[in-house]
Symmetry: C2
Amino acid sequence: MGWAAVSAGEEVRLKLVEAEEPEDNDYHLQEQVGFILRKAHQRHVAIFAAHIADLTPPQFAALAKLHDVGETSQNQLGTLIAMDAATVKGVIDRLKARGLVELSKHEVDKRRLLVNLTAEGRDAIERLIPLARGITEETLAPLSAKEAATFMRLLAKLA
Amino acid sequence: MGWAAVSAGEEVRLKLVEAEEPEDNDYHLQEQVGFILRKAHQRHVAIFAAHIADLTPPQFAALAKLHDVGETSQNQLGTLIAMDAATVKGVIDRLKARGLVELSKHEVDKRRLLVNLTAEGRDAIERLIPLARGITEETLAPLSAKEAATFMRLLAKLA
DNA sequence: TCAAATTCATTCGTATGCAAATGATATCAA
DNA sequence: TTGATATCATTTGCATACGAATGAATTTGA
């Protein structure tokens, strides 16, 4: 119909352009950085879940960062692990429900909600960190050591 | 207390290890591939939203793939754009509610739900693809052309 | 000092993302 | 042929993820 004719015209135009220069006018979703980034992230999450079944990557990130810096406000923690206020609240709520973190009010600044590891939370994160090293290793396994180093350097520039 | 003593012991042990070899026993969340991958993905989604406000990356992916391959089953589409059945259903439902895709039953195999672009959906994706090229460009902007090529090659190996 | 702007946290709404269970249909194999 | 498997789609439940609106508390600046 009308559209078929237009389509045929497109075909011709594309071929003429290609004859002049080897440019590709098609759009290939599979080659877009966003699409591959999403898939790489998916794969990492799957590897993570295979090694650490009882915690999600964001939950692990929260515990690991608390272990690193000690007590902080919920908001500050969110900044440190790249989560907005609404997201970090959900993560902390679930960690609190499981007894891995405890909350308290800031004495001076009454707006702030302080978050800290419980003894159980500390035990958990210290037990899991060695597994996390394995997760990083397995995620990067398709690359050689040199490639992995290059990739990490470039990825850091993008993030 | 008891823990403080253990902590002090840990300190000593770590320092001895470091004296022997320059190994780092600390765990740095910020250097883990999963964490940076999540941040890079976040940044990409933000760039996408700044260029294409009325569609999410998964919605765009569905339309772009339909434009590429034509009518397919919902399940097959999910495979092509790396989404599981439950996720793709939600995406297609919302695109259908906006009149960008239409659904029909497979004549032979009654299990399958066929998905196709509407005229409006085709117009939309053809209008948006040029913007998507800009999104890819901006996402990779922190890298030189050579670095970007290297990054894409390594990222593809990971995903 | 005190009104304006900022910060911290919460809530709501919407959109992925995936595991698991279920039902309908189709295919395979004994 | 039919019973076991496999495939396609849906539904439910849970967990990010973020924009926007709101309220409480703090800080800033004229």
